[in-house]
């Protein structure tokens, strides 16, 4: 057993060496997905591929990198100092084909002492669709190639491997630099680890590595043991799995806290599909762990394989959350892996919300859909350019038990995943933005409202057309932007095209007043997966989800609603409709009129209650009554104006279900539920 002081000193040094690895990647990378989106990670591993310390990049990689390293160990053959392998096979541990893992052994005295690895999302690795989120793929044959190659041989770049990889990409310069970023990171970590080992010796460093994992496990188990046993559900739906197939599929989750273990059971999720949105089991485990790193470990417990030992993930084989070979999976990480995280985030928030001690960690939704837009174009000089836009990271997070949700929150998978500058996007791609603005009324209503999202619109600039590969996880009908305890869902993630628009007229007016429906031209709301050409004179626009609300919005302090109206985040109409707040002429809340309106709203709920039989439920959080709850259903747009625009607010499959206290009329739950008539791809 190492003394706590040496442990702390060596552990911190390991952490810092790994941090250097991440810095090298961010410096060399040519990809906004990496530098702004933080879609990379770095790790140090034991000789058996157990993760000792992870970087602050994307949390989904924290869990999968080790699976990939284990595959490398299994397939590498003879191993020498300075060797490194690259791997992007989702059936060998990569999340999807864009995520290339580079792993290298650190040798001491001719033996593998430990492994260094990193993973980075490359902007294009082939496959039938630009950007490699293959929205047209039906089989694995349509997906990008899967590589397993030696990329460094005793320190030297293996030119043939690089050639194979680079020439399979539509963006060879970009992936060549990104691969160098990964190699540079390995170089940096190798040199620094050798220094550390020379300084401290192998035995101490090995012991610290193993003890770090053991310690994190102990901390997580202690934390879980402190939570009363129980079960909570989570759910997310996908509306449309590929271009031309708008099937409805489900991720169903039951989370159980059992002693010092958390079990994630995905029984009830839909069968795997002939589309690239499927998630492998490795990706599903990673997606499940995300809200635990974010809200349980935070900065207090190290991000390593200690957590993985405390969770038990079950997903039936052959489902969208445990797709088996040869399912196409190139969209996985923004497909069903994303929805696994959405469902897990909801279930984990419900778990924390069931305790007084940890309620402040409950956050039921956070960028619940990744509205990914790969834009490619041929430039006038004959070069091809392409990139993933970053604007979907302007999404909102759900309200918290003590304060509003964050506006433009990034993603729950990475606290630092940010939007790029508009100028950066316009420099990289031949586009011109018409606006990037906060989307009023996009936050789910609640005592603590969700965060608002931002909306953008753009048009080609300097070229006649752009290729758009729209890969929006979900949200054109139901939002998945869950609220909690009676808070409403936020805006759904959606995209639109305006053909033959009067661009000049739009540019010369004040965009703040613009509504999508005011855009002169032919407006179409797009499905979640779409393959489009944006021509000169067209406008393409989108936003990602808003955050859901926390508790009944009729409990929100009226002055806060007035402040939101003043800031342009909530309209006067929604202040009245969703929050029951009446504003006077100078924009302040009229307390008396508000009280009267709110009383009337609650009374209406109780009237509704007479119409529906009371069903048993827990004690009301507002009045404490235990007389049961009442339920009523509405079109989706009852939750806000930016939901299911494609269907004018009332989609074919889903509706909103409100559950209220039968005694006081307070909302206790708002959920998006299937209409009784809906057909789904779900397992029954």
């Amino acid at each position: 057993m190492i003394d706590p002081i040496t442990f702390e000193v060596v552990k911190h040094r390991l952490w810092q060496i790994n941090d250097e690895q991440g810095l090298a990647i961010k410096t060399i990378s040519a990809s906004p997905i990496v530098v702004e989106g933080n879609d990379y990670n770095v790790g140090l591993f034991t000789e058996n591929a157990e993760l000792v310390t992870a970087g602050i990049g994307s949390l989904v990689h924290v869990t999968t990198m080790g699976d990939a390293v284990a595959s490398v160990i299994g397939g590498a053959g003879e191993i020498q100092a300075g060797d490194a392998w690259m791997l992007n096979d989702p059936f060998l541990g990569a999340l999807h084909q864009n995520d290339v893992v580079v792993a290298s052994p650190l040798m001491r005295d001719g033996r593998v002492f430990m492994w260094i690895a990193n993973v980075l999302h490359h902007p294009d690795v082939g496959g039938i669709d630009e950007g490699s989120f293959c929205i047209n793929a039906r089989t694995l044959d349509d997906d990008p190639p899967r590589f397993f190659m030696k990329i460094l041989d005793r320190g030297e770049l293996v030119a043939e491997s690089e050639r194979i990889f680079v020439s399979n990409s539509r963006l060879p310069d970009a992936v060549a630099l990104d691969l160098r970023a990964q190699i540079g990171a390995i170089n940096v970590a190798t040199a620094r680890l050798n220094d550390l080992l020379d300084d401290r010796g192998e035995d101490i460093v090995r012991d610290v590595m193993h003890q770090s994992i053991d310690l994190a496990e102990r901390q997580v188990r202690d934390f879980i043991r402190d939570i009363p046993d129980g079960s909570w559900t989570g759910e997310a739906w996908m509306d449309g799995v590929r271009v031309g197939d708008e099937r409805i599929c489900r991720v169903a989750l039951k989370l159980t806290c059992d002693g010092d273990t958390l079990r994630f059971d995905y029984t009830g999720s839909s069968d795997q599909v002939d589309a690239a949105v499927n998630s492998t089991i490795s990706a599903t485990v990673a997606g499940s762990a995300v809200p635990l790193y974010s809200f349980l470990c935070q900065g207090d417990i190290d991000w390593n394989d200690g957590l993985k030992r405390c969770i038990d993930v079950f997903a039936p084989e052959g489902t969208v959350v445990n797709a088996t070979y040869p399912a196409p999976v190139s969209i996985s990480t923004v497909g069903f892996r994303w929805l696994v995280t959405v469902a897990a985030t909801q279930a984990v928030a419900r778990m924390f919300n069931s305790t007084d001690k940890h309620r402040d960690r409950a956050c039921p939704s956070w960028n619940s859909s990744s509205n990914c837009n790969n834009i490619f174009a041929m430039l006038p000089d004959g070069r091809r350019t392409g990139s993933l836009l970053s604007d979907h990271r302007g999404s909102g997070a759900a309200g918290r038990s003590f304060a509003d949700g964050f506006d433009h929150a990034g993603t729950v998978t990475s606290y630092a995943s940010s939007l790029g500058n508009v100028e950066g996007a316009e420099w990289k791609l031949p586009v011109m933005y018409l606006y990037r603005r906060q989307l009023a009324d996009s936050a789910g209503a609640g005592e603590y409202r969700g965060g608002v999202t931002c909306e953008v619109a753009l048009t080609p600039y300097g070229v006649d057309e752009l290729t758009l590969k729209l890969t929006n996880t979900a949200g054109t009908e139901q939002t998945n932007a869950h609220g909690i305890d009676g808070g409403y869902p936020g805006a759904g993630s959606q995209s639109f095209m305006v053909r033959n628009a009067d661009i000049d007229a739009h540019l010369t007016q004040s965009a703040r007043l613009l509504k999508q429906t005011d855009l002169r031209g032919d407006l179409t709301w797009l499905p979640s997966k779409a393959d489009e050409v944006i021509r000169k004179g067209d406008i393409y626009g989108f936003w990602a989800a808003g955050g859901g609300g926390f508790r009944d919005p009729l409990r929100r302090v009226p002055a806060k609603v007035a402040e939101d109206v003043r800031s342009g985040l909530v309209s006067t109409a929604e202040a009245r409709r969703s929050y029951g707040v009446v504003l006077d002429d100078d924009g302040s809340a009229d307390e008396d009129a508000t009280q009267a309106l709110r009383d009337q709203r609650r009374a209406e709920k109780r009237v509704n209650g007479r119409k529906h039989a009371a069903v048993p439920g827990p004690a009301c959080t507002a009045c404490g009554a235990t007389g049961g709850v009442v339920q009523s259903r509405y079109p989706l747009c009852h939750a806000g104006p930016w939901i299911a625009r494609r269907y004018n607010g009332d989609g074919p499959n889903f509706e909103l279900q409100e559950t209220s206290c039968s005694a006081c009329g307070a909302l206790v739950d708002v959920s998006e539920v299937l209409k009784k008539t809906a057909e789904t791809g779900a397992t029954q």
Binding site: V9, E20, G184, S294, F406, R437, Q438, S510, R566
Partner: protein
């Protein structure tokens, strides 16, 4: 003969005065024409900052047995470092600003690139708890933002002309809304400033007297969010900064100072008072920069051209790096939570590790910091109710700090309280004995400081072992020999002027004006075109910097010009800044530049990280004009008449060894050239210097202490 300096016997002139106003103390360094350095310290007066400056001058005058007016009348250069602008920003006490954005992008500051605006600039540990990171208070309320109908394209062409009628309405409504200062941040204005320039002209007509900050002038770089932040901060603190510096300048001038004062900026240079409103943002966070300027100056004297600076105070530990003449810079520093600016500043990396840092355990591990007990309640030993053990308490328990002689006896410390705090909070929960726990706290904090230094040097491609380490700041002396040893640094210097090092840097900072422009240029086309473009940009920037110098009353011919290029592989997201060693760029120089770029790469990231097939992209150009301030030649200390000190020893606990008898040496009794061996403690009235076994110290004629590892026998 009203004031004779007893030490000199004649009336000297003062070549440089530096006054550095910090949060607690205002420090003064005064250098006379013989190179003698004098220092003074007084309390800062945040409610009336000028008063603090005159107070410290008064102290110096008293010590010299003369008047403030007399000192000022004999002073050539008066330079000032101030936290006024930093505090105004952090406490949100700036002007009411009206902002104009390109229509459609009015929410740029509010969207704030998402998490950048919320967690950007926070310590990683804090940011990782992301559900509890609240966004910072906005600088500008939403009601004070207007859109301007206009659009410049990414190629710099005018896509939509400026709608002047609507613009006038917007400006008038902002003024009606109480705007005291305006900021204009239009898309691509740095490529084509025509609309921003026109807006200035219109503002001058309809809102005369209201200062206008323009994004293409304040921060001519690609990236509208950071450019807007820089411009808006400038507008926000400009009026207040200008008023304070103006008042101080007039006050000193009427007290007899002949030349206008100069103000140190975050790039390590100084600016003339008259220009300060236009570049107020550059003063923010300039506080600790003086220390690096002083280190570079001292390095010149001592023959060190690669220096790492280490400054440990009560709450934090700051590290900076000097490579030759260059103070390492941060191209995009955060001025506050969520507020990154595109104004290169001297890079200082900070962690929460100071004398007041609290040691704690969560039952699993021993942590030190980042929480600090501050000055109140302070370490447990202060006896002011602090029950949590701090680094200072650990130093007491280990015997490194003398409870009777902390800060020259200014504070009386109670080591029993330290021992109790460490025993109860650390030793018992973790099953350690008291001294092991205390020494463990020191080892952890020393390792963290070593790691930070390692990070700063490695991140810029250097081996820390190749550097001299300059340690200053009240708490550094007790730790620096330990962390220098961790790092394999053989040259450790504790400067004589360490207690007022920032003020020394302020006193001798050069006048610097820097101009840059972002004009992306690919090196794939005709080499003659590229060289013509580079030369044109450099010429424009040199002219602009020369104009600034002339406006400050300085002949550009007396200045040195430094040319820099920010470049990357085409498509990359981050640039590398390289010095271009000459003012011209010939057609054949593209290959030279690529060579510089790739050698930087290989040095930093290792073999296999360059790619000859990928074209290079030059992103921006910068010219920095420097007018050197007259550097004093330091005089030797008068070290002749020191009484021999009696031998004194104290037990000091060393982890893994136990107690050893350490010699206790009074700084004032140190003899030039004599070797002092560890284990020993050198006590100075403001600091304690710990020499572990296996190290030794000597003092040079200027009073600087050098600590070196002793050859193993």
């Amino acid at each position: 003969m009203d004031s004779i300096d007893p030490a000199m016997g004649i009336r000297p002139r003062f070549t440089n005065i530096g006054v550095d106003t910090g949060g607690t103390f205002t420090d003064l360094v005064l250098i006379d024409d013989r190179g003698v350095i004098r220092t003074a310290k007084s309390f800062s007066t945040p409610e009336a900052r000028e008063k603090g400056v005159f107070d410290v001058l008064g102290r110096a005058a008293t010590a010299l047995n003369t008047s403030v007016d007399d000192i000022l009348a004999r002073t050539d250069i008066f330079a000032h470092g101030t936290t006024a602008s930093t505090n105004a920003l952090i406490q949100r006490r700036g002007a009411r600003v009206g902002v104009l954005f390109t229509a459609g992008f009015e929410d740029t500051m509010t969207i704030a690139r998402g998490p950048i605006g919320r967690v950007g600039g926070l310590p990683q540990q804090v940011a990782m708890d992301f559900i509890h990171t609240e966004p910072p208070a906005p600088l500008v309320p939403r009601s004070m933002v207007r859109g301007v109908s206009e659009r410049i394209g990414s190629d710099g062409s005018v896509v939509v002309p400026l709608n002047e009628n609507a613009l006038c309405d917007s400006i008038e409504s902002l003024i009606a809304g109480g705007a005291e200062s305006l900021a204009v941040c239009l898309l691509w204005a740095f490529r084509n400033p025509v609309h921003e320039q026109r807006i200035t002209a219109i503002c001058a007509e309809i809102a005369p007297g209201i200062p206008v900050s323009l994004s293409h002038q304040v921060a001519p770089k690609m990236g509208e969010f950071e450019r807007a932040v820089t411009t808006v901060i400038n507008a926000y603190i400009g009026p207040l900064t200008e008023a304070y510096i103006g008042d101080l300048d007039r006050g000193l001038s009427s007290a007899g100072l002949a030349n206008p004062i100069q103000v140190i900026t975050s790039n390590g240079g100084a600016a003339r008072a008259a220009n300060i409103g236009r570049q107020a943002v550059s003063i923010v966070n300039s506080g600790p920069v003086g220390g690096l300027v002083a280190a570079r100056f001292l390095g010149d004297q001592l023959g060190h051209d690669k220096i790492i600076t280490a400054d440990m105070g009560g709450t934090s530990f700051d590290v900076g790096l000097i490579d030759g003449d260059t103070l390492e810079e941060d191209p995009r520093p955060y001025l506050d939570q969520g507020l990154p600016v595109t104004l290169p500043a001297v890079k200082l990396v900070t962690i929460g590790a100071g004398g007041g840092s609290i040691a704690w355990t969560d039952g699993y591990r021993l942590h030190v910091g980042p929480q600090s007990a501050g000055a109140d309640p302070g370490p447990a030993a202060y006896g002011r109710g602090g029950t949590e053990p701090t680094v200072t308490d650990a130093l007491l328990v280990c015997g490194i700090v003398d409870p009777e002689n902390f800060f020259g006896g200014a504070y009386k410390l109670d080591p029993a309280l330290s021992a109790r705090a460490i025993a109860e909070r650390i030793a018992q929960p973790l099953g350690l004995d008291l001294q092991e726990a205390a020494a463990g706290i020191l080892e952890i904090v020393n390792a963290r400081m070593a790691n930070l230094i390692r990070k700063v040097s490695i991140e810029s491609g250097h081996d820390p072992g190749a550097f001299a380490l300059y340690a200053y700041g009240g708490a550094t002396g007790a730790h620096c020999a330990e962390f220098a040893r961790h790092l394999g640094i053989g040259r450790l210097v504790l400067p004589y002027a360490g207690p007022v090092f920032s003020a020394l840097g302020v006193a001798i900072a050069d006048i610097v004006y820097s101009h840059s422009r972002s004009e992306p240029l690919s090196l794939t086309g005709d080499p003659a075109d590229a060289s013509e473009a580079v030369n044109r940009h450099f010429a424009v920037l040199r002219d602009a910097a020369s104009d600034d110098m002339r406006a400050a009353g300085i002949d550009p011919a007396s200045c040195t010009f430094r040319h820099r290029i920010e470049m990357r592989y085409r498509g990359q997201m981050n640039e590398v800044t390289l010095d271009w060693p000459k003012p011209q760029f010939a057609a054949g120089d593209a290959g030279v530049l690529r060579g510089l770029f790739e050698s930087y790469y290989e040095k930093r990231f290792g073999a296999g990280t360059t790619r000859p097939e990928t074209p290079l992209e030059l992103i921006s150009f910068r010219v920095e004009a420097t007018h050197p301030t007259r550097r004093p030649v330091l005089a030797a200390l008068d070290n002749g008449a020191i009484a021999a000190a009696g031998e004194k020893y104290r037990p000091v606990y060393i982890r893994g060894t136990g107690f050893v008898e350490a010699a206790i040496v009074d700084f004032e009794t140190l003899r030039v050239g004599e070797v002092y061996h560890g284990p020993s403690v050198i006590e100075r009235n403001t600091t304690t210097i710990w020499l572990p076994p296996g190290t030794s110290a000597t003092m040079d004629v200027y009073g600087n202490i050098f600590i070196v590892p002793e050859a193993e026998s």
